[in-house]
C-alpha cells in the first residue's frame, strides 16, 4: 500500500499524505518518508520530529538530542520528556506481569533508599508497581496540565523547572526494573534504548544530578564522556 501510494505520488507529483488509515499493518504504521523539520507546519512539530527520529534509529542518542536551530529549548525538553513518559508505559506493562505488591512491597532500587509515592496528599510507601503507575499517571497529569503547560509551542520558565522533578521520579522506574527485574529491563532496553536515551537526556540538560543516575548504561556508549556514573 505504501509502496503503491509512493509510486503514484511520484507519478502525479502529489504531496505525501502521512496518515495511518484503518487497515494499515503494524509494519507500515508510521512508515512514511521523513519530513524536514522546516517543512512541518503543525503545532506539534517538535513531537513529530522527535518521533520521526526515534522511529528511524532509537539507538542514535546523540542525534535524537540534537536540537534543530531556532528551537525553543524549554519546548524541546518538554516534548522529549513527554515521549519518555509515553514509552515508559511499555516498561510498566512489562512490570505489571512480574512486579507484584507481595514481592516488591516498596519502591527500592539499591538498599540505600526507599522512595515514597508523591501522588498522594501525604507521600506514602506504595508497592513498587503502584509507585510506577502512580508516578506515570501523575507525570501524565502534570505534563498535560492546562495550568503549567497550556501550550506546546511556548512554555513558561517556571514550568520548565517542573521537568526536573518529573525526571527524578520516572528515573526510579528504570532503577527499580534494573535492580529487581533485570530480565524485563534488558528486554525492554534492547528494543527501545529508553534508559540510555533518558540518561543522555537528563545529563545533557542537567535535569538530574549525576549521583542519582545509578543504572549503568551499556558499553556501546560508555565512551561518551560523563556517562560513567554507576
Amino acid at each position: 500500500m505504501v509502496m503503491e501510494a509512493s509510486q503514484q505520488n511520484q507519478q502525479t507529483q502529489q504531496p505525501i499524505v502521512r496518515r495511518n488509515r484503518p487497515g494499515t499493518t503494524t509494519k507500515e504504521f508510521c512508515q512514511w518518508p521523513d519530513e524536514n523539520f522546516e517543512e512541518m507546519d503543525s503545532t506539534l512539530v517538535v513531537q513529530q520530529f522527535i518521533q520521526q527520529m526515534i522511529r528511524k534509529d532509537p539507538s542514535n542518542v546523540e542525534k535524537l538530542l540534537n536540537m534543530p536551530d531556532g528551537q525553543d529549548e524549554g519546548v524541546w525538553k518538554y516534548e522529549h520528556l513527554r515521549q519518555f513518559c509515553m514509552e515508559l508505559n511499555g516498561l510498566a506493562v512489562k512490570l505489571q506481569t512480574q512486579c507484584f505488591p507481595a514481592t516488591c512491597t516498596q519502591m527500592t532500587a539499591t538498599e540505600q533508599w526507599i522512595f515514597l509515592c508523591a501522588a498522594h496528599k501525604t507521600p506514602k510507601e506504595c508497592p513498587a508497581i503502584d509507585y510506577t503507575r502512580h508516578t506515570l499517571d501523575g507525570a501524565a497529569c502534570l505534563l498535560n496540565s492546562n495550568k503549567y503547560f497550556p501550550s506546546r509551542v511556548s512554555i513558561k520558565e517556571s514550568s520548565v523547572l517542573k521537568l526536573g522533578s518529573v525526571c527524578r521520579r520516572v528515573y526510579r522506574i528504570f532503577s527499580h526494573a534494573y535492580f529487581h527485574h533485570r530480565r524485563i529491563f534488558n528486554e525492554f532496553e534492547e528494543q527501545t534504548f529508553l534508559c540510555l536515551r533518558f540518561t543522555h537526556f537528563v545529563t545533557k540538560y542537567n535535569l538530574m544530578s549525576k549521583d542519582n543516575l545509578i543504572v549503568p548504561i551499556s558499553d556501546a556508549v560508555s565512551e561518551i564522556p560523563g556517562e560513567s556514573e554507576a
Binding site: R18, R21, T26, R82, N144, N146
Partner: protein
C-alpha cells in the same frame, strides 16, 4: 439576515468542494488524453485493461463514453444542489417568519414595561399627595407634546386598578421573557449575572453617577454629529437608565425609609431592563439593514424627549426631598448638574433637529402616531443597556445569530477538555448510562474519565477533567474501543494485534488507588496484525473485530473459547472497518481496502451483498478508501466515510447507493450516529466535526473545529453518548473533547 448569509456560504463551500472534485476529475481525464500521446500506462480504468502496453489504450469512443459519463454525473449533482437550495430557501422563509413573531412579542413587552413605569410614576405622585397633602410640583406636561401624547396613551391603559394587575402582568411578562430567553439560548444564569452587575452598580451609585456624566456628554455629542452608529447612543441611554433607577430609590427611600424594599424593586426593574436590552440585539440589526436613514433621526427625537423626562424627574425629586439628609442632597446635586448638562445638550439636539426640518416633519408625523412612536422610543431605551452587550457580542455575533437560528435545535458547545494522553487519541467509547468516557491512545494506554469529576479551569468556559484510571496492557498504540451493552466491560484493540477485555473500575475510584490486576479480564488473541475496529452486537453481546491481517473475527468474550468465527475475503483485501447490521443481527458489514463493502452472513461467513460506490474507476480506488463503516440503528442503511471526503449511504436490502455527499474538506475519518438515528456525527482530517440531520434531507446542522493536526491527521474518532446529551471527539493532538 446573517443567518441566511451563513447558510449560503455553507452551501457555496460545499458546491465549491464538489466543483473541485469535478475539476480533479477533468484533470484526470486530461491526463489520460495526454497519456494517449505519450503511451503511458494508466492502471485505474478497468474497461481498457492492460493488454496492449505499448499501443495507446484509449479509443475515441472510450473517451466519448467517459465524457458522457462525467456529464451525467454533473447533471445529477446539479439537480442535487438545486433541491438543496430550495430547501434552504424554505428554511429561510420559516426563520424570517419566526423572527417577525419574536419582534411582535418584543414590542408588546416593551409597551407593557412603559405602562408599568408610568403607573409607578402615578403611584409616586399619589404617595406624595398623601404624605404632604399637596400635589407634587409637576412640571407642566404641556412642555413636551410628545410626552403628553405618550402619557395620554398610557393613561388610558393604566387607568384600571393598579397594583394587583401590575403584579400579575409583571409576572406574566417575566415568565414570557424567560421563555423567550430560553428559546434563544439565554439561561437564567445570564439574568443572574446581569442582576449582579446591577447590584454592583447600585452599590457604587454615587461614583457611577459622577462617571456617567462624561459618557453622557460624549454620547450626546456624537448624536449631534449625527453619527448613525448606535454606540454613543447606547452609552448615553444606559447611563440615563441607571439614573432613572436611582430616582426610584430616592423617591421611595426618603419618605418611607424602606431602602431595602426600594433597592429590591429597583433591582428588579434594572434587571428586566437588562433583559429587555438583550432582545434589542435583534432590533438594531434589522433597523440598520432596512432603514438606516430613519434611525439617526428617530434617535435624535428620542434623546430629546428622554432628556426632558429626565430633567422633569430630577426637578420633581429635588422638590420632593426638602428634608433629605446631606448625603442624599449631594447625590441630587449631582443629578441636577447632570440634568443641566443634559438640558444644554438637548438644546443642541433641538437645533440639530431644526436644521433637518424636512425630515423632522416626517418624524413628528410618526411621532404623533402614539403606538408606533411609543415602541420606537422604548426600543431605543432598551437599546440603552445594550451598550456593553453589543460590544461583547460583536466578536461572536455569528455565533449568536446561529444560536437564534437554531432556537428549536440543540447547539453543541465544547465543555470538557480531556488531556492526559501523550499521543494521538485514536478511539472513544461512552458508558451506556453514566457520564463516563474511555479513550484509547497511541501512547499505549486507555484512560477512564468521569465527566462529573472536573477540575475547575480558570478563565475558560470549558472544564478540565483528569482521568480516573489508566489501563495499561497493550504493547503498542491502542486503535479501537468498544463498550459492552451493560457498560461493565470494554474492549480495546491495538496495533499489537491483541484485543483486551477490561472490567471497568468504579467511576468514583481514587485515581491513585493500588493496582488491581483483575481489571484486565482477558485478552483475545488470534489476530496476527493490528486490530483496527471493534463492534459489539447489543442483543447477543458478541464482538466483531477487523484486523489488518486480512481477517474479520467474531468473538464471544464471555465464553471459554471466545473465537467463534473468522471471515476473510481474498479478492477485496484487508478489512478497514466493520459493524453489525443493526436490524438484522445475523449480518455484519465489512469495508475493505478496495473501497468495496460486503455484507456477510455471521453463521456461514458467505458474502451476501456487495456495496460499491458509484463511479468506481477500477477494482481498487485508493481515493475512495473507506475509513469507517457504520449501520443505522433503526433503518436498513449502511453509512461509509471515505478518504475522498464523501459520506455514502447504502440500502442494506439491495445494496443501492441511496445518497452520497461531500461532507468535509478533507478525508472523513469517523462516523457516529445517535441512538434514535436522527443525527450523524462525522469527523475529518480537516480538523472539524460536523453534525448532520440525516432524518431530514441530510443537511449539516453544525460544524465545530475541534482539534489540531499532527502530520496529516486530525480527528480520529467521534462518539455519541447513548443516553446523555454528550458528544465527543478524539484528536491527533492527544486531546479528547466532550461537547454538551
Amino acid at each position: 439576515m446573517r443567518i441566511i448569509n451563513r447558510q449560503d456560504i455553507d452551501t457555496e463551500m460545499m458546491d465549491e468542494n464538489s466543483l473541485n472534485g469535478a475539476q480533479n476529475q477533468i484533470g484526470v481525464g486530461q491526463n489520460r488524453v495526454n497519456n494517449i500521446a505519450t503511451g503511458d500506462k494508466v492502471n485505474d480504468d478497468p474497461s481498457n485493461g492492460n493488454a496492449q502496453n505499448v499501443q495507446p489504450q484509449y479509443t475515441i469512443p472510450g473517451i466519448l463514453h467517459f465524457i458522457e459519463h462525467e456529464w451525467q454525473r454533473f447533471q445529477a449533482e446539479r439537480s442535487q444542489w438545486d433541491t438543496d437550495r430550495a430547501e434552504l430557501q424554505s428554511k429561510i422563509a420559516v426563520l424570517l417568519g419566526e423572527r417577525k413573531g419574536l419582534q411582535t412579542t418584543h414590542s408588546d413587552l416593551i409597551r407593557r414595561i412603559k405602562m408599568l413605569e408610568y403607573a409607578l410614576r402615578q403611584e409616586r405622585i399619589k404617595f406624595h399627595r398623601l404624605k404632604f397633602g399637596c400635589d407634587p410640583p409637576t412640571i407642566d406636561l404641556t412642555q413636551s407634546p410628545d410626552e403628553q401624547a405618550l402619557a395620554n396613551e398610557i393613561a388610558t391603559d393604566a387607568d384600571f386598578p393598579y397594583s394587583p394587575v401590575t403584579n400579575q402582568m409583571w409576572e406574566r411578562g417575566r415568565a414570557r421573557l424567560q421563555n423567550y430567553l430560553k428559546e434563544i439560548g439565554w439561561t437564567e444564569t445570564i439574568i443572574d449575572v446581569r442582576s449582579k452587575c446591577t447590584r454592583n452598580l447600585l452599590k457604587l451609585g454615587n461614583a457611577e453617577q459622577e462617571e456617567n456624566i462624561n459618557p453622557n456628554v460624549n454620547g450626546t455629542e456624537t448624536n449631534n454629529k449625527r453619527a448613525s452608529e448606535s454606540q454613543g447612543m447606547c452609552s448615553q441611554e444606559s447611563s440615563e437608565y441607571d439614573n432613572e433607577s436611582n430616582f426610584y430609590i430616592i423617591g421611595r427611600d426618603q419618605p418611607a425609609k424602606k431602602s431595602q424594599q426600594a433597592m429590591a424593586d429597583a433591582l428588579l426593574l434594572d434587571t428586566e431592563a437588562a433583559v429587555m436590552s438583550s432582545f434589542a440585539f435583534l432590533e438594531p440589526a434589522d433597523v440598520e439593514m432596512d432603514e438606516e436613514d430613519y434611525m439617526g433621526d428617530d434617535m435624535d427625537l428620542v434623546t430629546g424627549s428622554d432628556i426632558k423626562q429626565l430633567k422633569m424627574k430630577t426637578k420633581g425629586v429635588i422638590v420632593n426631598d426638602d428634608d433629605a439628609d446631606a448625603e442624599a442632597e449631594e447625590v441630587l446635586n449631582d443629578l441636577n448638574r447632570l440634568a443641566e448638562g443634559e438640558d444644554a445638550n438637548m438644546n443642541m439636539v433641538v437645533n440639530n433637529q431644526r436644521i433637518n426640518d424636512g425630515s423632522m416633519k416626517r418624524r413628528v408625523m410618526t411621532g404623533m402616531g402614539p403606538g408606533v412612536n411609543d415602541e420606537e422610543v422604548d426600543s431605543s431605551l432598551g437599546l440603552g443597556e445594550l451598550a456593553e452587550l453589543t460590544v461583547t457580542n460583536e466578536s461572536e455575533s455569528t455565533y449568536d445569530v446561529n444560536n437564534s437560528k437554531e432556537s428549536y435545535r440543540k447547539t453543541w458547545n465544547a465543555k470538557y477538555t480531556l488531556r492526559s494522553h501523550f499521543d494521538c487519541v485514536r478511539a472513544l467509547a461512552f458508558h451506556p448510562k453514566e457520564s463516563v468516557l474511555i479513550t484509547g491512545s497511541e501512547d499505549h494506554t486507555l484512560k477512564l474519565w468521569n465527566l462529573q469529576k472536573t477540575v475547575p479551569a480558570k478563565k475558560s468556559a470549558s472544564l478540565d477533567v483528569e482521568p480516573l484510571y489508566t489501563f495499561r496492557a497493550h504493547n503498542g498504540p491502542v486503535l479501537c474501543l468498544a463498550m459492552s451493552t451493560n457498560g461493565d466491560q470494554c474492549y480495546s484493540g491495538g496495533l499489537d494485534g491483541v484485543i483486551n477485555c477490561w472490567n471497568l473500575p468504579n467511576s468514583n475510584i481514587d485515581p491513585y488507588d493500588s493496582y488491581d490486576p483483575d481489571v484486565l479480564k482477558c485478552s483475545l488473541e488470534g489476530h496476527t496484525d493490528a486490530v483496527w475496529r471493534l463492534a459489539v452486537n447489543h442483543t447477543k453481546g458478541n464482538l466483531v473485530s477487523a484486523s489488518s491481517d486480512g481477517t474479520v473475527k467474531l468473538w464471544s468474550p464471555q465464553s471459554k473459547l471466545p473465537l467463534l468465527n473468522t471471515y476473510s475475503n481474498e479478492t477485496e483485501g484487508i478489512p478497514t472497518s466493520v459493524d453489525f447490521v443493526r436490524d438484522e443481527t445475523e449480518k455484519i458489514v465489512v469495508s475493505y481496502k478496495s473501497a468495496v463493502s460486503i455484507i456477510h452472513d455471521v453463521e456461514t461467513g458467505k458474502p451476501l451483498l456487495k456495496l460499491t460506490p458509484n463511479g468506481m474507476s477500477g477494482p481498487t480506488d485508493p481515493s475512495k478508501y473507506i475509513n469507517r463503516i457504520i449501520s443505522h440503528p433503526t433503518m436498513p442503511i449502511i453509512i461509509t466515510a471515505h478518504e475522498d471526503r464523501w459520506i455514502r449511504f447504502y440500502d442494506v436490502n439491495d445494496g443501492t447507493l441511496l445518497h452520497a455527499m461531500v461532507a468535509h474538506l478533507d478525508a472523513v475519518t469517523s462516523l457516529a450516529i445517535d441512538v434514535h438515528g436522527l443525527y450523524l456525527l462525522s469527523g475529518s482530517h480537516d480538523c472539524s466535526i460536523r453534525l448532520w440531520n440525516i432524518a431530514n434531507k441530510k443537511t449539516c446542522v453544525q460544524e465545530i473545529t475541534a482539534h489540531r493536526k499532527k502530520f496529516e491527521e486530525s480527528i480520529l474518532d467521534v462518539a455519541f453518548h447513548p443516553t446523555k446529551p454528550f458528544i465527543a471527539s478524539a484528536g491527533a493532538d492527544a486531546i479528547a473533547k466532550v461537547f454538551v
